[in-house]
């Protein structure tokens, strides 16, 4: 089964990537990534640029809306995602708990919609 871990981070955490003291931020992520890869669970995923670099498109009642910035206007923003291949939700939750963002932001676990993917990609 495949799961996506959606990683939510605060503006401070996004800023931590660029600051000089980023070693503990990056170091934690590097180690987490390595542990995922070596456990065989890692399928894919990437960090995302800061939310203000996003552009959000909506079409409401036939009208296009283009919004600068992210879709949801909350403090924590989607900062990255990881796709994992694991036997169960329980295992995915375990990995989510180890994710550095679990202790400074939030990590949402969602199963990938395989059936939907099949319908889209044919």
């Amino acid at each position: 089964m495949q799961f996506a871990l959606l990683i939510y981070e605060s503006p401070e955490a996004f800023a931590a990537r660029k600051s000089d003291g980023a070693e503990s931020y990056t170091g934690a992520w590097r180690a987490y990534h390595k542990a995922l890869v070596e456990s065989g669970a890692f399928v894919g995923g990437d960090p995302l640029e800061a939310p203000e670099t996003g552009t959000t498109i909506t079409i409401k009642e036939g009208k296009r809306g283009v919004q600068d910035g992210p879709y949801a206007d909350t403090k924590e923003q989607l900062g990255g995602f990881t796709i994992l291949e694991l036997p169960s939700l329980d295992a995915a939750l375990e990995w989510a708990a180890r994710c550095p963002a679990a202790s400074y932001g939030a990590v949402e676990v969602r199963p990938l919609a395989r059936e939907m993917r099949r319908r889209i990609t044919g």
């Binding site: 170091g27 180690a31 202790s103």
Partner: protein, 410 residues
């Protein structure tokens, strides 16, 4: 009734619920085998207490009041069912017993049977601890789910399934025969220790995961000791948990940084808890059958001794681990053995033990990588140590531990 009186009633209900929940559930379910029914009846009674007591005053014997009220709703439920299901022989038995019980008010304590039911071999071992936390301590599925990293809804469903199996699967509420007792008791002790472990790991408490579970586990062990005195392993488990609990304040420095056991300041340890642990351990060893919990408590006792002597007797710890591994060599014990051996006989011997551990089992076991990193560093194998540190950091859940290891890795 004014606000502060109402608050007092609330606190009384809370206290009675806390102290009597398990006894009441155990008594209400022991004849019907219907745990869910007993819990529902009791929560109904608790709700009635919350609304009724502020108005009518707190009854003379709150526990007896709750029992009578819960029993009434259970009987009503059964009468209701009887129309559908015809007769229910247990009902008669149950009502008779209950009448006697409320007359005496001092109803029999059936919690021991309940503990054995929760850790019954027919129940999925993963559910032993959650069942105990719910039916003996009255914790809700939200809290239990949080502690076990399972969504509250899923945990709720699993608990319902387990209780249905107890009710419909013919699992008897009884204390096992002497022949089966050691094995069955071990399952109960394991379940209590699992609760403690969750409470113990959750030191950071960033998300309140499992906070207070360590205390609940110690309380359960005390109840168990009271119910079944003279069992060395029960006292061993209690000693083990008390030794760990004694160090709670020393596990983080003033800035919240992780402090490993060997670097903790013994002045921050609780002497009274250590003394209590030592008393239990001494009594346990008098029975002359050292089991896993006594041995693990003995290892903690050696660490506690540093408070007096200023040094750690690693060779004693190695010996206790050797005995433990003869009972059953879990990955945790073998890792602990490797760490102790590295201190007592040198890093090379520690590494050899680690190398012999199955790599699949070690893959996601954080302490293995932390110990391996430390041992490799001692041996001057810098690159391999870095790699092991990375694995340990990546598997760490506690941010304080993660930061500590990040510092060590450099």
């Amino acid at each position: 009734m004014n606000g502060s009186d109402e608050e007092k009633v609330h606190r009384t209900v809370e206290r009675v619920a806390r102290e009597s929940y398990g006894r009441l559930v155990a008594y209400l379910s022991v004849h019907t085998q219907d745990l869910a029914g007993a819990e529902d009846a009791l929560s109904e009674a608790l709700l009635k207490a919350l609304t009724g007591w502020p108005r009518d005053g707190v009854p003379h014997n709150p526990e007896a009041w709750l029992l009578t009220t819960a029993r009434h709703s259970l009987i009503n439920f059964f009468r209701h069912q009887r129309v559908v299901l015809d007769s229910e022989p247990d009902l008669l038995l149950f009502t008779q017993h209950s009448v006697e019980a409320t007359l005496e008010t001092n109803f029999p304590d059936e919690r021991l049977k309940l503990l054995f039911v929760c850790a019954h071999p027919a129940i999925d071992p993963a559910m032993h601890t959650p069942l105990m936390l719910q039916s003996v301590l009255g914790l809700d599925a939200v809290r239990i789910g949080g502690a076990f990293l399972v969504s509250p809804k899923t945990m709720g469903q699993r608990l319902v399934r387990a209780k249905t199996k107890i009710r419909d699967g013919g699992i008897r509420f009884e204390v096992p025969e002497p022949r089966q007792l050691p094995q069955r008791l071990e399952a109960v002790l394991e379940a209590i220790y699992a609760a403690f472990g969750i409470g113990w790991d959750d030191m950071a408490g960033a998300d309140q995961r499992g906070r207070g579970l360590a205390e609940e586990a110690i309380w359960l062990a005390r109840v168990l000791l009271e119910l079944i005195p003279g069992e060395a392993e029960v006292q061993g488990l209690l000693a083990l948990m008390l030794h760990c609990e004694a160090r709670r304040a020393a596990r983080r420095d003033r800035d919240g940084r992780y402090v490993p056991l060997s670097e903790q300041d013994p002045k921050l340890w609780s002497l009274s808890l250590i003394d209590e642990a030592e008393r239990h351990l001494a009594k346990a060893f008098k029975y002359g059958c050292p089991g896993r919990f006594q041995l693990e408590a003995a290892i903690q006792s050696v660490h506690a001794e540093r408070g007096r002597s200023g040094r750690i007797e690693w060779t004693a710890i190695v010996r206790f681990y050797e005995q433990l591994n003869r009972i059953s060599p879990t990955i945790g014990r073998r890792t602990g053995y490797a760490a102790a051996l590295a201190e007592a006989n040198g890093a090379q011997e520690g590494l050899a033990v680690l190398d012999a551990i199955d790599q699949d089992a070690a893959s996601a076991y954080q302490p293995y990588w932390a110990v391996r990193a430390h041992v490799l560093r001692l041996l001057g194998k810098g690159r391999e140590a870095q790699h092991a540190y990375d694995r340990a950091i990546g598997l760490a859940e506690d941010p304080a531990v993660r930061d500590f290891l990040l510092q060590k890795r450099g």
